[in-house]
C-alpha cells in the first residue's frame, strides 16, 4: 500500500506495574531505527490496546508486562484481535515471563516473546524479519 512510509508500532504496557523506563527506552530505540512508534503509556487495558492499534493502523503491537498476570492479559489481547479480525497485526510480548509459559503465548499468536535478558538488537532483527526486510 503506502510503501514509502515507515512501519508503525504500538508500544504499551498492560497490567498494574508502574514502571515505564524500559518501555520508553524501547520507544526511542525504535524511533531511531526508523519506525513510527505509538506509545500508549502504562497500565493499559487490553481493550484500550487493541482499539488503539486498530485506529492507528499499526503493523505491530509490542506489549510488555512485569506483574505476572501475562497469561490472562495477553490472552485477552489476542482474543480481541481475533474478534476484530485484525490477525494481520503482528504481536510481540515481553516481560518477566517464565519459559514454561512461552509456548502458550506463542500459540495465542504472539510471534516473539522476549524475556528481560533480550537485547535491543535481538528485538530489532526480529522485527525486521517479521516485517519482511524491515524497509
Amino acid at each position: 500500500m503506502s510503501t514509502n512510509t515507515p512501519k508503525r508500532i504500538l508500544i504499551g504496557k498492560v497490567g498494574l506495574d508502574g514502571h515505564d523506563r524500559g518501555a520508553k527506552f524501547l520507544v526511542r530505540a525504535l524511533r531511531n531505527a526508523g519506525y513510527e512508534v505509538i506509545y500508549t503509556g502504562i497500565r493499559r487495558t487490553p481493550e484500550q490496546i487493541v482499539r488503539t492499534a486498530i485506529d492507528e493502523d499499526v503493523d505491530v503491537i509490542g506489549l510488555s508486562l512485569l506483574s505476572g498476570a501475562h497469561n490472562e492479559l495477553f490472552a485477552r489481547v489476542a482474543q480481541l484481535i481475533e474478534e476484530e479480525q485484525a490477525e494481520d497485526i503482528i504481536m510481540f510480548a515481553g516481560g518477566t515471563i517464565p519459559d514454561k509459559d512461552i509456548p502458550h503465548l506463542k500459540s495465542l499468536g504472539f510471534r516473539q516473546v522476549f524475556t528481560p535478558g533480550a537485547s535491543l538488537s535481538e528485538i530489532l532483527s526480529a522485527l525486521k524479519e517479521e516485517l519482511g526486510g524491515g524497509e
Binding site: 515507515p6 500508549t40 503509556g41 493499559r44 486498530i54 485506529d55
Partner: protein, 346 residues
C-alpha cells in the same frame, strides 16, 4: 475506492484507519480517495490547536474531548508529532494523554508524523481530517507539532484556531516573532496553577489589545481595566483565556467560546470561503513541495557545475544564475521524473 468510502460511512473503524494510512502514503488509490474526500466534505468546522512544545495541547484536547462527549458530540482528533530528522522514525506520544477515550466508539484519535514537513502539520493532515468528517465526526480537532518554530500552517485549515501558551514556555516577545499570536482566534494560557501565568496573560493582552474576556481575570486579584478598553473592542477580537487543562478549570468556558466560533463558521457563505482557503493551502503546499523537489534536483544536477563555471568566469551574474535556476526548476516541475521513491527532498 467506493468500497472504502462505503465502509467508512457505515462506521467501520478499520476501514477508516486504513484509509488514513492510504492518504499518508503515495499511491493511485490514495489519489482517487483524496479527490473524493475533497468533493464530499467541507461542512464540518475544524478546530486547530497549536503552541510551543509541552504547553499542554494534548492535555487540553483530552479535556475538551471529555466535555464534547458530555454534550453528545462525536469527536475526531488528528495529532501530529515530528519525524526524526536522522532516522525517518517518529515518536507519536500525544495520545498518551488521551487514553481514557480509547474505548469510546464516538471518539477517533489518529497520530501522524510530519514526514519532514515544516509548518507544524503533515501533508496527510487535511486528508485525515476530511476522512473523520466523512465518518461523521464533528467537530474535528487538530493538534500541531510542538517544536517551537513556525507552526502556523494550521491557520488556513482550522476554522477555529487556538494558540496555547504556558508560563515559562516561549513567552515574551518570542511569541510575536514566531507569528503565533497573529493566527489565533483564541489565545489560551494553560497551567494557570503555576506562577507567571498572570504576567503572561497581561503580556498577551497588551500585545493583542482589544477587550479582555472575563476569563482573563483568572486570579481574583488581577486588575483588568475593562471600561477603558471597551471602546476599542471589535466583534472579531481575539478571545483570551487562562485555564488549567489538567484539572479542567475554565475549560468549559473556553469550550463555550469555541462553539460560538464554530457556529459562526457554519453559515453557507463562511463554509464556501473557508473551504476555498483550505483548498488554496492544499495547492500551496503541493506546489511548494513539487517546486522545492525540482529545485533540489537542479541544485544537485549536472547543470550546476557548468553554471558555477560561467559564474566564475564572470560571464553571468548571480542574479541571472538565480533566474536560470528558477526557470530550469519550473521546467522540471512540468516534466516530473518517474521516480516516486525519493518523496523527501534531502
Amino acid at each position: 475506492m467506493d468500497a472504502i468510502v462505503d465502509n467508512i460511512r457505515r462506521g467501520d473503524r478499520r476501514s477508516l484507519a486504513r484509509a488514513m494510512s492510504l492518504v499518508d502514503g503515495v499511491s493511485d488509490t490514495s489519489q482517487a480517495l483524496k479527490d473524493h474526500l475533497r468533493r464530499s466534505t467541507g461542512k464540518v468546522p475544524w478546530w486547530g490547536f497549536t503552541g510551543p512544545p509541552g504547553v499542554g495541547k494534548s492535555t487540553l484536547i483530552d479535556a475538551l474531548v471529555d466535555m464534547l462527549r458530555r454534550r453528545g458530540k462525536r469527536v475526531g482528533v488528528v495529532a501530529i508529532d515530528p519525524t526524526s530528522p536522522l532516522s525517518d522514525g517518529a515518536l507519536l506520544g500525544d495520545r498518551v494523554r488521551m487514553m481514557r477515550h480509547a474505548e469510546d466508539g464516538d471518539v477517533f484519535i489518529r497520530s501522524l508524523a510530519t514526514h519532514h514537513r515544516e509548518g507544524g502539520l503533515s501533508d496527510a493532515t487535511i486528508h485525515c481530517a476530511r476522512l473523520l468528517e466523512l465518518a461523521d465526526y464533528d467537530p474535528v480537532l487538530i493538534e500541531t507539532v510542538g517544536v517551537g518554530q513556525n507552526e502556523v500552517d494550521v491557520a488556513p485549515l482550522a476554522d477555529v484556531c487556538t494558540v496555547i501558551l504556558a508560563p515559562g514556555f516561549g513567552d515574551d516577545i518570542q511569541l510575536t516573532k514566531a507569528g503565533l499570536l497573529e493566527i489565533a482566534d483564541c489565545v489560551v494560557v494553560n497551567k494557570c496553577d503555576l506562577p507567571g501565568s498572570n504576567r503572561l496573560l497581561k503580556e498577551i493582552h497588551r500585545e493583542l489589545g482589544g477587550l479582555p474576556t472575563a476569563a482573563l481575570a483568572y486570579e481574583k486579584d488581577t486588575k483588568v481595566d475593562r471600561a477603558g478598553d471597551a471602546a476599542e473592542s471589535t466583534t472579531d477580537a481575539v478571545e483570551i483565556f487562562g485555564i488549567e487543562a489538567k484539572s479542567g478549570k475554565n475549560v468549559e468556558e473556553l469550550l463555550d467560546t469555541l462553539f460560538e466560533m464554530d457556529a459562526a463558521a457554519r453559515t453557507p457563505d463562511e463554509r464556501r470561503r473557508r473551504n476555498e482557503r483550505r483548498v488554496l493551502s492544499e495547492i500551496r503546499r503541493g506546489a511548494t513541495v513539487e517546486y522545492r523537489r525540482a529545485l533540489e534536483g537542479e541544485l544537485s544536477g549536472d547543470g550546476m557545475a557548468e553554471l558555477l563555471d560561467t559564474l566564475q568566469r564572470g560571464e553571468c551574474s548571480v542574479e541571472s544564475a538565480v533566474a536560470q535556476l528558477v526557470t530550469k526548476a519550473a521546467d522540471r516541475v512540468r516534466q516530473p521524473e518517474v521516480s516516486e521513491n525519493d518523496r523527501e527532498p534531502k
